[in-house]
């Protein structure tokens, strides 16, 4: 083995230290225009008037793109998987979050582009807003999305991601104690040092070359081709050099609009977001609202879990249904709980749409589960490592979505954590391994899951 364990130089290291690595913003082409966007200044409104005539007439302005210019206005990031689309590339009659793009201007320089953006006439009729997922289900809650306030298309037409496993009522009947907790991690901006940027060059043969900072090149290819209604072979995306992404560059943020402007102007166009746009408009990690209610025994076994998750999707769905699905599969964390009742909703609010960030959907649940496990140990007066080691996944345990674990590392990880924290485990726990459960570690409530072969 030449590579494993060896210290290999990064292939791009020398380029980085000499300033030769070429990021999108470093690509130089002749005759390039700069783009600036007209963005919604309000969180939720009807657009009652949009007139770009003055902007178009300005000297130095080469293209003004609005919803009228988009061949296929709505296309979803998960459309290719059969999930319906909900987000217009440019707002048509409604804006649902502050900063939502309404028009894009391509001009000789950024000053001119910004002046033209300022010259666009737009009027709004403001609508009531919704920012807290907990209020989305209220009777009088403002209606903020064409599908209602939560995503209705799981498995075709279910309005939630649900998991039912074992016999939850029985687990709660047998419990010595019910322990509940609510966990609400906030939104997080990825802050890549390189802001969102793309450069689109219309080629003489009618193709488009798109220089993109995307983390998901083939996603972007499909999204751009779908909106433009052109075959994919007319689009060449140059990517792979990303100035930091962390999940925030999975969304196709700039490529499609820049391409439209470049096509309309028939000139190369670059659209580079300011740091302020990056903070205010680029998608963030979602805020989550998680309620956990566990049925536990006095000696620290978790018999059953009821859970409700409200995932703040922001104004549109984007990848959220996928993120929530991952979340649901992981909602017991590193632990085995045989009786489950999970309901998760992708809730729409008037926030910036949210997206992937390092462990999409799973970091939220890990935070909630680990905090909850400590709470259980606290309330029962038990050692928090021992409660964890008891319930930790072992070979032949099954996940919430009924996958049988063949080689889980939970036990060893918890033992290592205990050691790192200077704790001392009782012999039964210090010697525990991932081997299939038996004896004391195979209580009655976990016997059942071992029988469900082929599940």
């Amino acid at each position: 083995m030449k590579v494993v364990g060896a210290r290999l130089p990064r292939y791009d290291g020398v380029g980085h230290v000499t300033g030769q690595t070429q990021y999108v913003d470093d690509v130089r082409v002749q005759g390039m225009l700069w783009a600036k966007a007209l963005r919604s200044p309000v969180h939720h409104a009807k657009i009652t008037h949009l007139d770009t005539a003055k902007a178009e007439a300005m000297s130095g302005v080469h293209a003004v793109v609005t919803w009228r210019d988009v061949p296929l206005l709505e296309y979803g990031h998960l459309s290719a998987l059969g999930i319906p689309a909900d987000e217009p590339l440019l707002a048509k009659d409604t804006v649902r979050y502050m900063g939502q793009p309404i028009a894009l201007v391509a001009a000789d320089d950024e000053d001119t582009a910004q002046a033209a953006v300022n010259a666009i006439e737009v009027k709004f009729e403001e609508l009531p807003t919704l920012f807290d997922v907990r209020n989305a289900f209220d009777e009088g809650a403002p209606k903020i999305h064409q599908w209602g306030n939560w995503y209705p298309h799981f498995e075709g037409d279910m309005d939630r991601r649900q998991i039912r496993k074992g016999n939850i009522e029985d687990a709660f009947d047998r419990a010595d104690k019910i322990i509940s907790g609510v966990y609400r991690p906030a939104a997080i901006e990825h802050v890549p040092l390189e802001t969102q940027v793309s450069l689109v060059v219309p080629e003489p043969d009618g193709r488009l070359t798109i220089y993109s900072c995307t983390q998901a090149l083939y996603f972007s290819l499909a999204v751009v081709a779908a909106h433009l209604e052109v075959p994919m072979n007319r689009i060449k995306i140059v990517g792979g050099t990303v100035g930091g992404g962390f999940g925030g560059k999975v969304d196709t943020a700039t490529e499609t609009l820049t391409a439209l402007a470049a096509m309309k102007a028939n000139r190369p166009v670059k659209w580079r977001w300011t740091r302020e746009e990056e903070f205010l408009v680029s998608s963030t990690r979602a805020p989550w609202h998680m309620e956990i209610i566990d049925a536990v025994t006095e000696d620290g076994w978790i018999l059953g879990r009821k859970m409700l998750t409200l995932h703040d999707s922001g104004a549109y769905a984007r990848f959220s249904p996928y993120g929530l699905t991952k979340h649901s599969f992981h909602h017991t964390g590193a632990y085995t709980i045989p009786n489950l009742h999970f309901d998760g909703y992708v809730v729409f609010t008037n926030r910036t749409p949210t997206t992937a960030m390092r462990g999409f959907g799973v970091t939220s649940i890990s935070f909630a589960v680990e905090t909850h496990l400590s709470r259980i140990a606290d309330e029962l007066g038990l050692d928090p490592y021992e409660v964890r080691l008891k319930n930790a996944n072992r070979i032949n345990d099954t996940s919430p979505n009924r996958i049988r674990y063949t080689d889980p590392s939970s036990v060893e990880v918890i033992q290592a954590l205990s050691e790192a924290a200077g704790g001392e485990l009782a012999p039964a726990y210090a010697g525990a391994t991932r081997a299939p459960r038996e004896g004391e570690m195979l209580p009655e409530h976990l016997i059942g899951q071992l029988k469900t072969e082929g599940h």
Binding site: D111, Q114, T274, E276
Partner: protein, 259 residues
Amino acid sequence: MSVDVLIPETTDAAVEAFGDGTDITVIAGGTIVMQLLNYRRITVSKAMLLNKAGLSYLRQSDSTWTVGAMTPLSDLLGMFSPLGACAANVADHEVQYQATIGGNLCAPTPPEHPSGDLQGPLIALGATVRSVGAGGERTDGVEEFLASRAGRLVLDISFETPQAGAFAALDRPHTRHFTALAVSGVKSGDTVRLAATGVGPVGVRLLSAEAAAGDPEAAGNAALADAVLRDDALASAWYRERTLPSLVARVLNEIKEAS
């Protein structure tokens, strides 16, 4: 949009070019003006760069210091507290090297948060500001200057070496830039002068706290009467209300120890 840029090579030339300050944007270190220009928050038709105007100097005669408006914060780092400590608390080395004392005193208050941290120590020091503009040259105390700074060109700032001084600032992780709240104190003779930044659009003197200076805790609570507390991008009013008293007490205790 062509811009008329003047780069006077003497102080006299700068004073003359400035005139009564109408329609002229002064650029010192540029660390604030350029932020605004880059984001198209201001438009400039006529600008004056001060970098060659002979205004960068630090003079001492006996106990009196005179600091030219263009003196970079990096030149103030070694000075007595609260001034040196406050300058060291501003931004990072690169910005300190470029940012000037004059620009800090004249820092416009952005909508998101107060700025101009040096206003605190300068008020506490009882500094005077020499400026020109309509009506000619004027020398004011810092607070009077802050209240009427529009249309003035700062030439220099003077103060006495304090008997003792102290500086305390909120030091929150991950916010090295801009101080949400800071308190400066200076002792001269039997009196202590106290000032704070982050509790109003510009630096304010804490007169009620000064009146109770003998008892640091009481002075800390009294300081709330001098402060206008607001939520902004840096901290909430709630947070400031709870931290201002302890910063005031800390400064007073430090001064006590030092004298």
